[in-house]
């Protein structure tokens, strides 16, 4: 029964990782940018919600409704001011630019909010603590269910957007061949800005769940980035549903690893990530990919 519990908790944890990873996957899929500031953007979103909660005393979900459009706008501005320029200079420059952005965000948060650890759990009402005790060994938390449901809706909505809307077709077309997309009348810069806006706003959703699940401080971003990155790679880079599957696989590896030994939890996730990396890009194909 503890095994069943570990699997259930692993799925919940994995859904959280999938939400965190979603924006990272979008930016890589559309622009081939690996956003090293993704974790910090998520934490920034959490702070934004935190500020709204502090000022107004509103529920964390109301606070997120305020933060979401702000993060959409920030993402758009980030693309047109920083990432678009860096994209023109080859594949390494966006990596450096987002690495720098990560440091800037962390330090701005440090100045604005001090290194104190914060949490959004207090403002999430019943979702912080409620759970169903199914048996002595198995309990299902309301927050876990919420995150899983939100993750499935999020990925489903993105899939519908990409499959059935003209803006979605334009995004897929630009991701596959930006030059040809321009030639059929698609403004690739606008598509990129839209993609980054969506990615940044979804990252803040991950930040929100991070804040409700546990706590965050200005330096929390890089850890979240690692988990998100592992979820993306395990699921197959650039594949949307793969990211959901990859997140859940990572969550399962961590909770099942913890069954062996509590200290084995995070390591088990890293080992799964390495195993996938070797299986997929093993041997000569890795050098081939890098060379191209």
């Amino acid at each position: 029964m503890t095994l069943v519990n570990a699997i259930v908790q692993g799925i919940f944890l994995g859904a959280f990782y999938a939400v965190l990873a979603c924006g990272l996957s979008i930016m890589f899929g559309v622009m081939r940018i690996i956003n090293l500031a993704h974790g910090d953007v998520a934490v920034l979103g959490a702070y934004l919600a935190f500020v709204v909660v502090e000022r107004t005393g509103a529920s964390v979900f109301v606070a997120f409704a305020v933060a979401f459009p702000v993060m959409l706008a920030l993402g758009y501005i980030l693309q047109v001011t920083v990432l678009e320029r860096s994209l023109k200079a080859g594949i390494l420059t966006p990596l450096l630019a987002t690495f720098g952005l990560s440091i800037v965000i962390q330090n701005l948060l440090l100045i604005a909010f001090s290194p104190d650890v914060r949490s959004l759990g207090g403002a999430a009402g019943v979702f912080t603590t409620a759970s169903w005790q199914v048996t002595g060994e198995l309990s299902i938390s309301a927050l876990g269910v919420l995150i899983l449901v939100v993750a499935v809706i999020l990925f489903g909505a993105l899939q519908l957007f990409l499959s059935y809307t003209p803006a979605g077709w334009a995004m897929r077309a630009t991701a596959e061949d930006a030059d040809a997309a321009e030639l059929v009348g698609i403004d690739s810069r606008a598509v990129y800005a839209r993609a980054t806006a969506i990615a940044v706003a979804i990252a803040s959703l991950g930040g929100l769940f991070l804040g409700i699940r546990s706590a965050f401080d200005p330096a929390s971003g890089p850890t979240q980035l690692i988990f998100a990155f592992e979820a993306v790679v395990i699921g197959g880079m650039g594949s949307l549903w793969g990211t959901l599957v990859g997140g859940i696989a990572l969550g399962l590896a961590q909770t099942l690893g913890a069954q062996l030994h509590p200290e084995f939890s995070v390591l088990a996730g890293h080992l799964l990530f390495l195993a996938v990396l070797i299986a997929r890009f093993g041997g000569g194909r890795l050098t081939l990919r890098v060379a191209r």
Partner: protein, 242 residues
Amino acid sequence: MTLLKVDQLDCRYGLLQAVRGVSFEVAQGEIVALIGANGAGKTTLLRAIAGAHRPHAGSVSFDGADVTRLPAHRRVSLGIALVPEGRRLFPSLTVEENLRVAAVGNRRGRWNVQAVLDVFPLLQPRRKMPAANLSGGEQQAVAIGRALMSNPRLLLLDEVSLGLAPVVVDAVYRSLANVISEGATVLLVEQDLTRALRVAGRVICMLEGHVVLEGAAQSLDRDRVVHAYFGLGGHAAGGASA
């Protein structure tokens, strides 16, 4: 009436100069063939007209307005459409999605998904299929149809026969005849000299980035064209030496 005017256009890839001081005009309703050996600069010239290559110097005017600085997608909304070399379809999009994604909001006209499928009936059973799964001829039909979706006033065709079986090329050109008969202005690059001379009203021959011969298709005899094509008999312009 002049639809397209290219003036002293220079295009470079780093140090390589692909197009050197090219000037010509295309009138409304004309079919002009651009011929020349590999590396003569034909594809670069078409891409510069479409906005996919930023020229080093010179200008491109369309319908009297200077479009040299406009990005490609803005030129599409003015009515310039390029069928690029190698087709460049979006492989994971279905045939229908490839067509629909190219429908430009502000350009209404005869062409829509149904009209394209009517002209290229071979695509009808393939409309829900990803473009990656199509044969070469079918892909070329989608590429042409995709360009038509913006209801262009100027259609640029880059080697639509490349890599296709002769019988398929015939079918593609038969379909194009329908398009052309509706009064479109076409600038096409074609390797097959006989076909170029038959389809086009006027021929422009390029060599090493220069225009070396230009004239009405009927007025040119094959020998003169072949000489210009390969740079024999002093047709190459003086400035070409490097």
